[in-house]
Symmetry: C3
Subunit: 158 residues, 3 copies
C-alpha cells in the first residue's frame, strides 16, 4: 500500500455526486495517490450491470426502484423525474464534457480500487455477479474501508 | 485523548445515512480508535427522546415536522412518504441485519462520544432534557468539534 | 501555505448545508487554520451575484432554476417549495442567529480562500463575471483542490 492514499465513500448513486466523486478520484490518481472508492447503499447502483433476480419479493421491488449503472443515475437536486438529469447530460454533451461512464472508464484505466460494501449488498439482495466485471473490484466490509482510510491523506463521504 | 481518533459530523437525520454513519463509527471504535459523533441540524433528531414543548409557535411547528428518535427516520432517497423506509426495515428484518436503534445501542456500549451542536439546538428550540440520557453525550459548539477533528485520522461529513 | 489547513468541498447549495459549512469554516479560521472552500456544482449558486445571460437555451434554463446567491438557497430537507426555508429563517431571526449572508461575510473578513470549480462553471455556463467580487476568490480545477487537501488536517465534502 502506498504511503499517499485517498478514499471516497460513494454512498449516493446520484449522477451529479458520482461525477464529483470520480472527478476527484481520477484527479487524485493522476497526482500519484492510491485511490480507493467504497461503494455502499445507493452508490452500489453505479456498479450494477443488469437487473438481477432477487429471490424475495421485497428485494425485487427495492432493486427495481434502484438505477442500474451510471446511465440511469438521477440528480440529487432538481431532478424532476429525470428531466434535470437529461438536461445536464445534454449540456455536457454540447460541451464535450466527460460523462459519468467516461469518468468511470478512466477510473478503471487508472486502476482505482473499487470496494463494494458487503452488508449493503446483503440487505439490498445484490449478488457479486450482478456487479460489473473489473479486476480491481472486490466485495468487503467496513473493516477494510477503515484500514485503508486510517492514514490516508484525504477521506471523503459523498 | 487517544492519538488515533475518528470524527463524524451527523448532519443528516436520514435512516440510510445514519446507518452508514453508525456502522463506520462502530467499526472504527472496534479497531481501537476513539470516535466522536457531532450531531447537528437534522442529525439532532436521532437524539430526541420525545416531542418537547417549544415555547414559540414556529419552533413547535418545525419540531413537529422533525422525526423523534431513530425509529422515525426516513430515507434520503426513494422515501415515498415513509414507504421506502418501511420496505428497507422489512428487508433488514428478514435478514436479521442490525437496525438503526441496534447500531446506536452498540455505539453507546463502545462509549462513542456524542456531541450535540449547541447552535442547532438553539435555533430549533431543542432543550437538553429532550435528548436521550447518555453519559457520553454533551452539548457543545463547533469549536469543540474542530479541536477533536484537528489531528484525527478520519473526518467525515454525513 | 500554512502547515495547518482545512478544506471544504461545497457541492450542495442548500441553505442548511451551506450554513453548516460556513460555521465550520469560520470556526476553523478562528482557530488559526488556513481554510479553503472549493465551490462546485450546486455550491456555485452561493457565489452567483446575478442571473447571467447564457448563450445557449439549455444553459439559460438550467441557470434560471438554480438559486442566485445565499438568500435564495433552499433546505436539503423539508423545504416544501421554500416554506421550510422561510420558517427556518424566521426562527433564526427571532433568535438573532447569524444568517447565511452574515456567515459568508464573516468568511470573507477571515480571508477564507474561495475556489470556484472551473469544470462546473463550464458545464453550467457560469462566467467569472457572474460571480461575486472577492479578492480571495479564484477559478481553478480539481487539481488545485487536491494540492491543498493533500496534507490538510480536515477535509470535508458537504
Amino acid at each position: 500500500m502506498k504511503d499517499e492514499r485517498a478514499t471516497l465513500i460513494m454512498f449516493s448513486g446520484d449522477l451529479d455526486k458520482a461525477m464529483a466523486a470520480f472527478t476527484i478520484a481520477n484527479g487524485a490518481a493522476g497526482q500519484g495517490l492510491e485511490v480507493y472508492i467504497y461503494f455502499t447503499f445507493w452508490g452500489l447502483s453505479l456498479l450494477r450491470k443488469e437487473t438481477g433476480d432477487g429471490e424475495l419479493f421485497l428485494e425485487k421491488m427495492f432493486k427495481r426502484m434502484m438505477p442500474v449503472g451510471p446511465e440511469q443515475a438521477g440528480l440529487s437536486q432538481m431532478n424532476f423525474v429525470g428531466a434535470g438529469s437529461m438536461l445536464l447530460k445534454t449540456l455536457m454533451d454540447q460541451k464535450n464534457s466527460a460523462t459519468l461512464p467516461d469518468l468511470m472508464k478512466m477510473a478503471r484505466e487508472r486502476e482505482i480500487q473499487f470496494i463494494a460494501c458487503q452488508a449493503s449488498m446483503d440487505i439490498l439482495g445484490i449478488k457479486r455477479e450482478e456487479l460489473i466485471d473489473y479486476q480491481h473490484l472486490r466485495v468487503a466490509c467496513v473493516k477494510t474501508y477503515l484500514e485503508v482510510a486510517n492514514g490516508a491523506r484525504i477521506n471523503l463521504f459523498i
